[in-house]
């Protein structure tokens, strides 16, 4: 029996204290240099002094037999430098004139060493070898230098002089496109050309923003790129780059930076508020996730075919324990905790069949808050234990919002609201049921409600009631109509008898039996003998209306007659 079962029986909370960890005994290692007997005398706690002395571990013995490989201060030049500055660093001496290896037992050792050494010595070749770090000397890829002609034809700009553009390109080259640094160091002094400018003590200084510089540079770079390869011949990467550079929008960039500055300079309250909102958002999204999974779970449960097998198998204790085992197996194979919590994982042995084994799924209905689950007394324990909220009184609006209900009398056991709703569609007679279904189909309402909330169920109940009412009314109306027809036929008979010279007597009789044909035939009659005309038809209608009124009052009696 699982611990969960015991907890369940004793009404203990589902999650008890975690089981205390098993003490794993720490076996201290006996330090070196102390005998086992002495160490045993020390007891469990070793004194806080280090017993093992730090011995100097020299080179391993076999290394003493190796030859010392000397190091030498060697000069080198750096290929990344334009001048040939000679610096010195320590390098392992390159041995070409190696003395012969010693004979004897060290032969094999030496051979091994020689092979490894041989590999190492392949690598450093003094002087003619290129400097190791020269390869890291990389520059950013920059557009080609423009010529005067190109500049005059393509790159003219009212805001930028040729000199300033040159200055910008030089800075870009010097600082490898680090715009932050370029904007920081940008100090262009326009040359004083005319006398008037030269007389001014302080030359008018104008600042360039980083966006202006970027816009100018990207324009130049894009133009140069397009001149090198026309856009139609560009590779994909080049084309992307070209597009990106052409589409640089300094105003937008400036706006973005202003926003970024605003974002940076928020005060503490704003930051706090944002943190709160983010927290809330996180909660909402996680709730939504839960909602979706639980809903899927619920649907999958609803779609389980209703068990039709009899329950006699489970009435013996043996059968029950077997059922328990199978359920446990099923739960284990699911590999995750059922949403029902620990007491749901094991079908409680209270004699419930699997079809009704999930009363709590209703309580997890995500359409309402967990508070809504309190509406059913039997399900209250799960969310209450989880939430452990203090009880608070709700206003009427809140109650309706959370779906809190108060029942005068709660029926025992658990039932689905959707079941109850569905029960309404089952009338006493099959015919009536079919009719109800027909009416619902006409209204495009599914027999099984998609979302059987309390309100929907109520509405559904009202709908079914009114449909029933209407169906009754229709039935009555049909009956009354039939009576009318009978009576009219009788009347026609009587009239015929009073007019023996009327032609087509037998036909009329057959038509009168047909019922629906009566009015038409009388109308045809009316048309045929124009002498009677409108008056007669009007009389006919009046007659009919009075008949229906009559039948309305006497429908009970007619029903009785019919039975």
């Amino acid at each position: 029996m699982a611990a969960a079962d015991v907890r369940d029986m004793l009404d203990l909370p589902a999650e008890g204290q975690p089981r205390p960890h098993k003490k794993h005994k720490v076996v201290e290692k006996r330090p070196e240099g102390i005998t086992r007997e002495l160490y045993a005398l020390l007891g469990e706690r070793a004194p806080p002094i280090a017993i093992n002395e730090n011995k100097y571990k020299g080179r391993p013995k076999w290394m003493n037999k190796l030859r010392v490989r000397p190091w030498r201060m060697t000069p080198f030049t750096n290929g990344a430098r334009s001048d040939d500055l000679v610096l010195n660093h320590w390098q392992r001496k390159h041995e070409s004139n190696r003395p012969p290896a010693p004979e004897g037992s060290q032969m094999d050792v030496d051979e091994k060493k020689e092979t490894t050494e041989g590999e190492q010595e392949e690598a450093p070749k003094p002087l003619e070898q290129e400097y190791n770090f020269a390869k890291y000397n990389i520059k950013a890829r920059l557009p080609q230098k423009y010529s005067d002609e190109v500049y005059n034809r393509h790159l003219q700009n009212n805001e930028w002089t040729r000199e300033e553009t040159d200055y910008l390109m030089e800075l870009v080259h010097d600082y490898d496109l680090r715009w932050v640094v370029i904007a920081d160091r940008y100090e262009y002094q326009p040359r004083v050309d005319s006398e008037a400018d030269a007389n001014a003590l302080v030359p008018a200084k104008h600042y360039r923003t980083m966006e202006q510089m970027k816009a100018r540079y990207y324009y130049i770079a894009a133009t140069m790129l397009a001149m090198e390869h026309p856009p139609s011949e560009m590779s994909e990467a080049e084309f992307d780059l070209h597009e990106k550079m052409l589409k640089f929008d300094p105003d937008r960039e400036r706006d973005r930076k202003e926003l970024a500055a605003l974002q940076l300079n928020r005060n503490a309250e704003e930051v706090h508020e944002e943190a709160m909102l983010l927290e809330e958002l996180k909660r909402i999204t996680s709730n939504e996730q839960n909602f979706i999974t639980e809903r899927r779970e619920l649907y999958s449960r609803l779609e389980v075919p209703i068990s039709v097998g009899n329950t006699t198998v489970y009435q013996s204790s043996q059968g029950l324990s077997q059922l328990l085992q199978t359920l446990l197996q099923a739960d284990k194979s699911k590999k995750r905790r059922s949403i029902l919590g620990p007491e749901g994982a094991v079908a409680s042995p209270a004699g419930q069949t699997p079809t009704t084994a999930n009363p709590h799924s209703r309580g997890e209905t995500p359409s309402t808050n967990p508070a809504a689950a309190n509406k059913k007394g039997s399900t209250a324990s799960v969310p209450a234990a989880r939430e452990a909220q203090p009880i608070r009184t709700l206003s009427a609006a809140e109650e309706s919002r959370y779906g809190v209900q108060h029942h005068d009398r709660v029926t025992a056991g658990v039932q689905f609201r959707s079941d109850r709703a569905q029960k309404l569609t089952q009338a006493k007679s099959n015919v009536q049921t079919l009719k109800l279904a027909g009416a619902l189909a006409e209204l495009e309402i599914p027999v099984r409600l998609f979302m059987p909330t309390e309100r929907v169920c109520k509405e559904f109940e009202r709908l079914i009631q009114s449909v029933n009412l209407l169906l009754d009314a229709r039935k009555v109306a049909e009956k009354v109509e039939g009576e009318i027809r009978v009576l009219e036929a009788a009347k026609a008979e009587r009239e015929k008898k009073s007019q023996p010279d009327a032609s087509g007597h037998p036909e009329v009789k057959t038509e009168a039996e047909d019922g629906t044909g009566v009015l038409q035939s009388t109308a045809a009659d009316g048309d045929a003998n124009a002498g009677q005309g409108d008056a007669e038809t009007k009389e006919d209608r009046n007659h009919k209306r009075s008949a229906s009124v009559l039948s309305g009052t006497s429908d009970k009696s007619s029903k009785r007659q019919r039975r």
Binding site: R59, M63, R69, N78, A80, R81, D83, L85, V86, L87, N88, H89, W90, R92, Y131, N132, F133, A134, Y136, N137, D174, Y175, R178, W179, V180, V181, A183, D184, R185, M210, K257, A260, A261, Q263, L264, N265, R266, N267, A268, E270, V271, H272
Partner: protein, 471 residues
């Protein structure tokens, strides 16, 4: 690991060319070989000057603290703003810093060292006059400079290095950048609390952003002047600092009692100069800073209320005081006052007024939070959050107890949005020699060797090349 095998160069990118790193500061000058973890040579930048036998003599290094020579006066070749003023003496002090410990004295002329004395008649007639070897002839030199060093001073520096010291290769790096490198960052906001200056240097990709460089004189010397002002106003009696060299003997006294000591006296013509005494007093104050002075850790200023409504001063008063004994035996327990002397670094209004102090009362713009704010507003908005999450604290005065806590609090209060992260090495040496260590790392990198300004380039382009190359 086999000690006989070198680590692969590619592992750490190192390639040592026995370069010398020289980090001249206002208070101390640091020098050492690149690739080592601390400067081998640490000397005060102050030098002493006195007259003996009718000629001027100079004392460099720690020797100036030792002997109170008659008429000994001390000077500092570097101005209050961290820029060299006296180039001749700066050169000599710097040269002393590396010749005394690193390159060593060159072996003298064997004919003159007395070992090879030969009778006068056998003296060879034609004596070879050795060309005087320059002190740095075989070591590249990396020097540091503050971020606001003017171009003229930079050119003068390379001139000295190339022409007077004869270094084969030279580079001039900003100490802010190097402090960032020492913390392993290429982009950082470097807060350097030095002796004469506090400076904020934004560094982006290993280059300083000049418009963001801020500095103000509220450094260690300013704190010393605040401490002197505090001593003057001390409540039982004003405290006068008597340096050790004036104390002959002392007896222990109770806290707050008059000192009982016998003093040394110097005759008027034998006494050292007042500047010497001031320098030695500064050493005592330095000890006081290390032992007693504490920065109010925040949150909020010392004069404000704490988060729970209690005035911070009350809370500071409640913390136990710290005792300090002066060289003459006078000792006292310092309570809340020990917070006050540094509070003006963060709150200009909290400065202790002292009319005799060489420092004018600080303005709010000179305080640390305002400097950082001004510095950040000088750089592009896109990198500000990154800088704030990489604040590097360096400089010996930043070792004041509780300094980084307070700085963190101030920054968090000022910038609640972005993440503020201060990286301050706990190791004292790393904090004191931050920029030297960064220089040591830089100059021992294999990729750096293409950046050196070689002698040839210097001769070709002149001193102006330093502006082009050391950006």
């Amino acid at each position: 690991m086999n000690p006989s095998n070198p680590p692969q160069a590619a592992e750490y990118g190192g390639d040592e060319v026995s370069a010398i790193v020289l980090d001249p500061g206002y208070s101390t000058t640091r020098a050492g070989f690149a690739g080592e973890d601390a400067p081998k040579s640490l000397i005060p930048t102050y030098y002493g000057k006195y007259n003996a036998d009718g000629q001027e003599k100079y004392i460099y290094g720690d020797d100036i603290f030792v002997t109170p020579r008659p008429g000994l006066s001390t000077y500092n070749p570097i101005g209050k703003d961290g820029i060299v003023e006296d180039w001749d003496m700066a050169e000599k002090v710097w040269e002393y810093s590396f010749t005394s410990r690193l390159t060593g004295a060159k072996p003298g002329n064997p004919f003159q060292n007395g070992l090879n004395d030969i009778p006068a008649e056998e003296l060879p007639t034609e004596m070879e006059v050795e060309t005087e070897e320059k002190p740095l002839a075989d070591s590249p030199l990396l020097m540091t400079e503050p971020g606001w060093n003017p171009a003229k001073a930079r050119e003068k520096t390379i001139e000295i290095a190339m022409e007077k010291w004869g270094t084969p290769a030279f580079y001039l790096a900003r100490n802010g950048v190097l402090a960032a490198f020492a913390s392993g960052k290429a982009s950082a906001l470097v807060v350097d609390i030095g002796a004469s200056n506090i400076s904020i240097t934004p560094v982006h990709d290993g280059m300083i952003l000049k418009r963001g460089v801020q500095h103000s004189p509220l450094g260690g010397d300013y704190i010393s002047s605040q401490i002197r002002a505090l001593f003057k106003k001390n409540s039982p009696q004003p405290i006068t600092i008597t340096p050790h060299y004036l104390i002959s003997s002392k007896t222990a006294v109770e806290a707050g009692q008059e000192p009982q000591a016998r003093y040394k006296t110097f005759a008027a013509d034998k006494a050292p100069d007042a500047s010497y005494r001031a320098l030695l007093e500064e050493r005592t104050i330095g000890e006081f800073k290390e032992c007693v002075v504490q920065v109010w850790p925040g949150p909020n200023k010392l004069s404000n209320n704490g988060p729970n409504g209690i005035p911070n001063e009350e809370a500071a008063r409640a913390s136990p005081g710290r005792p300090f004994e002066f060289p003459d035996g006078y000792n006292q327990i310092f309570g809340v006052d020990r917070f006050r002397v540094v509070e003006s670094l963060f709150d200009a209004k909290a400065a202790i007024p002292d009319p005799d102090s060489p420092f004018p009362a600080p303005t709010p713009a000179q305080t640390l939070p305002e400097l950082i704010k001004a510095s950040l507003s000088g750089v592009d908005v896109d990198i500000r959050p990154h800088l704030l999450s990489n604040v590097v604290v360096t400089g010996a005065s930043s070792l004041l107890y509780g300094f980084t806590d307070r700085l963190n609090q101030e920054l968090m209060a000022q910038f609640p949005g972005p993440r503020v992260r201060i990286s301050a090495p706990g190791n004292t040496a790393e904090r004191r020699f931050g920029s030297w260590i960064g220089g040591s790392i830089l100059a021992s990198l294999g990729t750096f060797h293409q950046m050196w300004i070689s002698k040839k380039e210097y001769e070709e382009h002149g001193a102006n090349i330093v502006e082009k190359r050391c950006k």
